[in-house]
């Protein structure tokens, strides 16, 4: 119970921090915000597995005696989510760099004013 309470508090803090960063004008901070929110979600997923038992990994092919084990599925899910988050974060950071190259700024306000009229398609 205490563990759940601590985790709930930590998750709340992480989401708050992520949201705060997400609302900043600086693109890099926005990407940080996204990263923190996805990490908070990963933490949440692990929390959803409960805190009932021991390490779920089959050390020595399951010969670890009886007793409850953690739900290994959430850990597999988190692993997948981490890999995906890793790829997307890398892309977002490279994109941020590209935005800086194209616009000379990473301030979202300035980005919005820089050529507000989008003419899509091929580059001018």
């Amino acid at each position: 119970m205490t563990a759940s309470f601590v985790m709930a508090a930590v998750l709340g803090l992480l989401y708050a921090l992520g949201t705060f960063l997400l609302l900043r004008r600086d693109v890099v901070r926005v990407v940080w915000g996204i990263t923190i929110i996805s990490q908070a979600t990963n933490t949440y997923l692990v929390t959803m597995g409960g805190f009932a038992g021991s390490v779920p990994v089959l050390a020595g092919h399951g010969g670890h005696g009886g007793g409850a084990v953690q739900d290994p599925l959430v850990q597999a899910l988190v692993l997948t989510a981490i890999v995906i988050g890793f790829g997307t974060t890398a892309f977002a950071l490279v994109l941020t760099y590209r935005v800086y190259e194209e616009h000379g700024t990473i301030d979202l306000q300035a980005l919005g004013e820089d050529g507000a009229d989008i003419d899509g398609g091929e580059p001018r």
Partner: protein
Amino acid sequence: MTTVIARTVTRVVVPFILLTAVSLLFQGHNLPGGGFIAGVLTCTAFALVYIIYGQESLRTLVGGSEPGDGVLTGLPGTYARLFAVGLGVAAGAGVVSTALGYPFLTQTVLYLSDVPAVHALTELPGIGTLEVASAFVFDVGVYLVVVGGLLTIVSVVGRE
């Protein structure tokens, strides 16, 4: 950044990182580890060499072609090819099972102790039941994808 201490530490540490990465790769099919984490670890070794010794030394190490005009020439080109090959290996590892009539991605394990020809080998002290898992091929593919992809990013962005 390139003090004597940093250079020396890098020389010592990089082989250890690579060794750990390889061992993680090999145990990945049934213990913590696997292609992704091994790939990331390998990349940290490369990144360390890159930061301390520069891109040129990495080229002599890997043996990439000279940089040209395009984005994916020289080292990044090599890495990008690694990425593509890895993807092919991983996808192929899944497809092979369909060719044999099993569902996509089906994996199997061969215990060498069950194979008569090499059975004697596994009875030597300290060897035990050797296993060859087909999932390892998939892991190698993932490993190549991660190494190729990450190093492409590092080298392309680093060149800017």
